[in-house]
Symmetry: C2
Subunit: 211 residues, 2 copies
DNA sequence: TAGATTGTTAATCGATTAACAATC
DNA sequence: TAGATTGTTAATCGATTAACAATC
């Protein structure tokens, strides 16, 4: 997450999806235009930061005294994030967390699809997991070699995570979303995004205690 | 997340739980001492950054040529993060994601307990949710006023999230862990940590596409 | 001892904020 | 027009990296 992407800083990139969420809320309320001071105030950011963020991704200009056309900004953010290209993911580890991810509807909005799921134990798909069959993990390598998958999701127990990660890397996966609490060892060209729920909550707890 | 806490920068704070995870892995392998170059290499950070991070929280010194006593660093990190104080949380929204959080064992390590759960529909607790009864959400306010709870977790659909947040704030909750994809409106003294799974995955997808 | 590692001080880099001219 | 908001350039702030003396 260190380097800027297409002139957009790492910090800006993290905020972009939040702008999209907020702008879609406002659009749903029937608003057509919005100014940076209003966005900044609602999201708890400085006005100048919002201006910088928006100008770094927008190809069109806002109108002085009026602001930006909401629909236009939404479209530009989606284009920037590549929402028009479908991203295909597979998930390993269909326990409680993995099942929750399989059933999560929020990925649709970003045009990200979980195509298949794997577990130590095969399971028949329940209605809640969106009818994705859960295959035995021994079929993982074969599946990856025969399908065009961009992202691997690790929702296994920590003991299994590095082994699954190794299979991902062997099969050419370049993006890993990791929910297991360990430091995965990967080659430099693989992007790993760690989602450690427990440590996120621990950080929140610390911030609270320090007030 | 802007301001430094007790001389520890926001960025350092985010890395601290990861150090703990890594050090506990190494301790489990039977190692007694570890040096910053080794930690840095394993975690993909620069050596100097690791030295700075550790010196900002440690009260004791490492030994030249040997490194730091792993157990000691673990203890100091835990003390810094306040793991010795139990943090009490409640959860609202016992759908798939909420249930996964209720069943998640990783919070124990940080001495964080989810004391109660609420949903629009009462449900009998299943074995998997650690025997936490799921109460009707209309009992939420009463529960918060009669129990000492530090953190509220929002795992509801987006439509319900702001209303739940308002109840939290009314009842004096100062820390909110929010999984609903919206920008919550709260007073300045409330710490909100957003965990937007879909947008995290979208950012990973973008980083991949830009390589 | 020699040298790896320590902790710290100074330099660089990146991100945010301040200031301001342009414009509808 | 007046003034709110735009986009941009310069200044500040914070975080990371480089350099180095101290030490076991």
């Amino acid at each position: 997450m260190k380097n800027a992407i297409e002139g957009v800083s790492a910090q800006t990139l993290k905020r972009i999806p939040t702008y999209l969420t907020y702008l879609e809320e406002q659009k749903a309320l029937g608003k057509e235009y919005i100014s940076t001071p209003i966005i900044a105030n609602a999201m708890g950011l400085s006005e100048i930061l919002v201006k910088k963020d928006l100008t770094s991704i927008l190809t069109t200009s806002g109108k002085p005294k009026v602001g930006h056309n909401i629909q236009n900004v939404i479209d530009e953010i989606k284009y920037f994030l590549g929402v028009h290209n479908e991203t295909k993911a597979i998930l390993v580890g269909a326990g409680q967390l993995g099942s929750a991810l399989l059933g999560y509807k929020g990925f649709d909005k970003w045009n990200i699809k979980i195509e298949a799921a794997f577990d130590k134990n095969e399971k028949s798909s329940s209605k809640k997991t969106g009818n994705i069959a859960i295959m035995n993990v021994n079929k993982l390598r074969d599946y990856l070699l025969n399908n065009d998958i961009q992202i691997g999701i690790i929702a296994t127990p920590v003991e299994a995570a590095q082994a699954i990660c190794n299979i991902f890397v062997d099969c050419g996966i370049k993006g890993i979303w990791n929910f297991a609490p360990l430091v995965l060892q990967t080659p430099d060209d693989v992007v790993v995004q760690n989602e450690n729920l427990a440590s996120s909550l621990a950080i929140l707890s610390k911030r609270l205690q320090s007030k």
